[in-house]
Subunit: 136 residues, 2 copies
Amino acid sequence: MQTNSQFAVAIHILSLLACYPGEPLTSETIAGSVTTNPVVIRRILGSLRRAGLVTSQPGNGGGWKLTKEPGTISLRDAYTALQSGSCFALAPKPPNEKCLVGCSLQQILQDVFEETEAAMTAHLASLTIGDIVARL
Amino acid sequence: MQTNSQFAVAIHILSLLACYPGEPLTSETIAGSVTTNPVVIRRILGSLRRAGLVTSQPGNGGGWKLTKEPGTISLRDAYTALQSGSCFALAPKPPNEKCLVGCSLQQILQDVFEETEAAMTAHLASLTIGDIVARL
DNA sequence: CAATCCGTAACTGATTGGGTTACATATCGT
DNA sequence: ACGATATGTAACCCAATCAGTTACGGATTG
């Protein structure tokens, strides 16, 4: 499956910022650590900023900082900030309406996927950026 | 995120087979319910067969059947049968080795992703095809 | 006002996934 | 034995997606 790596990069970014508290890091500096292009970093940081996890400061001496203590930022916060969709997807075309099974299955699948993802994010909620940094 | 829909289709297939116990269904019949091409169905059924969840019979009057009772087939069985990879992915390029954070983060991320997916599949293990069919 | 950095649009190349065609192989009924 | 039927794959096409990149406008600092 082609899964995007935004979540992994987001955790990387947040951990990096947590390691340099107070000191704003530029997207270029972060990109140097992640080994990618600054724009890729800024795209992800944009999502994290919209979720209120980081702040940015343009101009000379600017950069990015965390808005909260690393211990109060859960991995679920980062995950939902990206809103890069679900792990699961329904079939591209809806099932045959003449089939009794397929007809009612849609809603059931949707519910199951939702529950399953909730189980996953519940685990993510139990881990914070502080925990990650502590493991380094 | 671009997620493949094989898991959804697999559940659809297994539920359908569960609804017609003993009676073999052809990939064409199943495709008619899912609204897709028979080959797409056969590809997924191939994975399910390799995992021992279904059997196939070629030739006239052939088709597909479950090998077990629907109540003994968990959604995790279907999920792992597809082995369509993880929900999460590491960044395409490894982090900068000169960065102390990025350097040790790789392994931590891998562990976290593994734990998180385990939490997810644990929930999938608690649901069976029998449960799905019962909800129809 | 010059240097720096964010913010975002636009484009590219590679990868992937669903859909499709085609064909070899196996089985059943007559 | 033979024709009909269905599986099992390989091969290909097209659309969508993602990481990466270039470009440029706007904000801030000194």
